[in-house]
């Protein structure tokens, strides 16, 4: 009898939590973000742009620069820090983790035409990436960069659903 009541209470708690948490999750997950990163070399803007999160693997590097400017785009992926072995930990007494590293992934080069526009598609996967764009012309060289991250929207949805409903045991005896 007590068990039943306890179980009912748990179910009600789950229901209430789902009513509060799910809309919040939904609101966060559905936050839209353009898949385009604009680098404007015609105006004086920040060299390091605010990091962005994308729900799409295909992002587009685009922007504006003077005609005949060479645009070099380099993509780096962030290698997560590796855990040190127990032996090294015992010996050196250093922290458990090294700092991660930016590893060069690939590069693209374009020369801007009379439209003063450049467009380059770039694909990212799970994890962090750094996009570095350098504009070179007779006036000199300017480099701008941004850190981007891809999140799988469906995966986030699934994970939340599993966390909330996954442990729900419906085998009532």
């Amino acid at each position: 009898m007590v068990n039943n009541k306890g179980f009912v209470k748990i179910l009600i708690i789950v229901l209430v939590l789902s009513m509060i948490i799910l809309p919040l999750i939904s609101a966060v997950v559905s936050a839209d973000d353009d898949n385009k990163i604009v680098f404007n070399f015609l105006e004086d803007t920040e060299d390091i742009l605010e990091p962005k999160i994308f729900y799409n693997k295909d992002i587009t590097i685009t922007g504006r620069a003077l005609e005949n400017t060479t645009i070099n785009i380099n993509k780096y992926w962030y290698r997560l820090p590796r855990k040190k072995s127990i032996i090294s930990k015992e010996k050196s007494q250093e922290p458990d983790y090294d700092l991660g590293k930016w590893i060069f992934s690939c590069g693209f080069s374009e020369i801007v035409g009379a439209s003063q526009i450049f467009i380059v598609p770039v694909r990212i996967n799970m994890g962090k990436y750094k996009i570095e764009v350098t504009a070179i012309n007779n006036n000199g060289e300017i480099t701008k960069e941004i850190v981007v991250e891809y999140n799988d929207k469906e995966q986030i949805n699934k994970e939340f659903r599993t966390r909330i409903f996954g442990d729900l045991d419906l085998n009532i005896e």
Binding site: M19, K36, I59, T62, V122
Partner: protein, 469 residues
């Protein structure tokens, strides 16, 4: 003992209620179908209503562009052999929405947003069906089978936008500069399912150039970002009259025996046929067919001659006289006197429009109806086949650079030029013996003085094939 059983029963009922609540709230908030438990029915009231609509006319309402906006990624969907089925499913959803809209104004709540909201909406998850011309709302309603519509505030339907992750629908009215937002609660769409199908295909990212420079590009300039070379099939074409007896075609049009036809052959090879009284036609050796009828039709009551009736008359006549090529769409409808209209059609190959620049024929099928009868009919249709060879297509930004260089050479001020549209097409190119079709880039350009025209470039080489000024 009885009390214990009663408690167990109550607990079971409560558990069931909780489970139903969880399923329903999950469905509402996350908008995800749960297979086997909760699946939205595919068929609904609106679709049943649509069965009554004259689908023949409806089949020719096709978009100029179908843009998929997917969490910031934009792409174009073509009616090609790979994604054609999906394209047509989305189009059906769009027509179902319009059917729902026109069925009653009272039951539909809506907001009117400024047109500036379009860019923000394009950042969401939705499909944008841009129509080939701004449809008058009464014409569109008529084609959908409604005698009249109460939506007189909407002056023209330029595009329809349908969300993938909500029930929000929009109509863009450029004439009024308004964006109508609807939330038709009665309309159960399959858009989420269709988005899943789209995501299974590899698609190019597209960029709206007006987001980078709104002075030089209109909001219709939408170009792909290629990471590798992009290719299109090379095609060979033949005239639809090739290997056909012209007399048989003429007899069918003039509705008499082939032996009773009167004909004259002009020096350029054009053959003119007549039935000797009220109908005539000429067949150009390039394949252009023109028909004219001087008969007066039965004067029908005004109420009978809806646009839908006129489109039906045109459809029936064209079907009986050489038929429609695959992927035909209505490119314009102009009302004329005598309760008539001129309907123009075009067609596409693998989703790309066909252009014929040689004969200056903008629309490849044109029919004029007056007094319930076909007065004039003109067509130039090709049978298209792929050769198996693929052509490299130049990046659209390179094409824009070629245009700017050309305009610069003509001493035109580039700051006074605006590109209104940019798209790929197949353009017919005739020689003495053969007919070719080349993939081309078309740039629709307007000057600040209002001179508008199309620059057509060979998509493989960038050579300018046609220029308006």
């Amino acid at each position: 003992m009885v009390i214990l059983k009663l408690e167990k029963l109550k607990t079971t009922i409560l558990i069931l209620l909780v489970l139903v609540s969880i399923v329903l709230t999950t469905r509402i908030w996350l908008d995800i179908s749960i297979e086997g438990i909760f699946i939205m029915p595919k068929d609904n009231v609106i679709k049943e209503e649509k069965k009554d609509v004259e689908f023949d006319s409806l089949a020719f309402i096709k978009p100029e562009k179908m843009i998929i906006n997917n969490n910031g990624k934009h792409t174009l969907l073509f009616n090609d052999s790979e994604k054609g089925a999906l394209y047509n499913r989305i189009l059906e959803e769009g027509m179902a929405f319009l059917g729902n809209l026109f069925s009653s104004k009272e039951s539909m709540s809506y907001d009117i947003l400024p047109i500036e909201n379009l860019n923000k909406i394009r950042q969401g998850s939705n499909v944008e069906i841009i129509l080939p011309f701004s449809f008058d709302v009464d014409i569109l309603a008529s084609i959908l089978g409604f005698d009249k519509t109460d939506w007189i505030d909407i002056k023209g339907v330029d595009s329809i936008i349908m969300s993938f992750d909500s029930n929000l629908h929009y109509i863009l009215d450029k004439k009024e500069g308004s964006l109508y937002e609807f939330n038709p609660i009665d309309l159960k769409s399959n858009m989420k399912f269709l988005l899943d199908m789209i995501n299974k295909f590899e698609t190019y990212s597209y960029v709206f150039l007006n987001e980078l420079d709104s002075e030089k590009f209109s909001d219709d300039v939408f170009i792909p970002a290629y990471s590798s070379s992009f290719k299109l099939p090379r095609v060979s074409v033949t005239s639809e009259i090739q290997d056909k007896d012209l007399k048989d075609i003429a007899a069918s049009f003039l509705n008499i025996e082939a032996g009773s036809l009167r004909s004259i052959v002009e020096p350029n090879g054009t053959v003119i046929y007549s039935d000797g009284s009220e109908k005539g036609m000429k067949i150009n050796k390039d394949g252009l067919i023109e028909y004219v009828s001087y008969t007066s039709g039965i004067i029908l009551k005004k109420s009978i001659l809806s646009i839908n009736d006129l489109v039906d008359i045109a459809t029936g006549f064209i079907e009986d006289h050489l038929g429609f090529p695959y992927d035909t769409y209505i490119s314009s409808i102009e009302k004329t006197d005598n309760d008539g209209c001129i309907i123009k059609y075009n067609y596409r190959y693998e989703g790309l429009p066909i252009i014929n620049d040689n004969l200056g024929l903008k629309d490849l099928v044109e029919i004029e109806i007056a007094e319930g009868k076909v007065k004039k009919y003109k067509r130039l249709i090709r049978h298209i086949k792929e050769t198996g060879e693929l052509k490299d297509i130049k990046n659209p930004l390179s094409i824009i650079d070629i245009l700017y260089k050309r305009l610069h050479d003509k001493n035109m001020n580039l700051d006074e030029i605006k590109i209104m549209d940019a798209y790929l097409a197949y353009m017919e190119f005739d020689t003495e013996k053969d007919i070719f079709m080349l993939p081309v880039w078309v740039l629709d350009v307007i000057t600040y003085e209002g001179n508008r025209g199309k620059y057509i470039m060979n998509a493989e080489t960038g050579v300018i094939l046609s220029e308006p000024y």
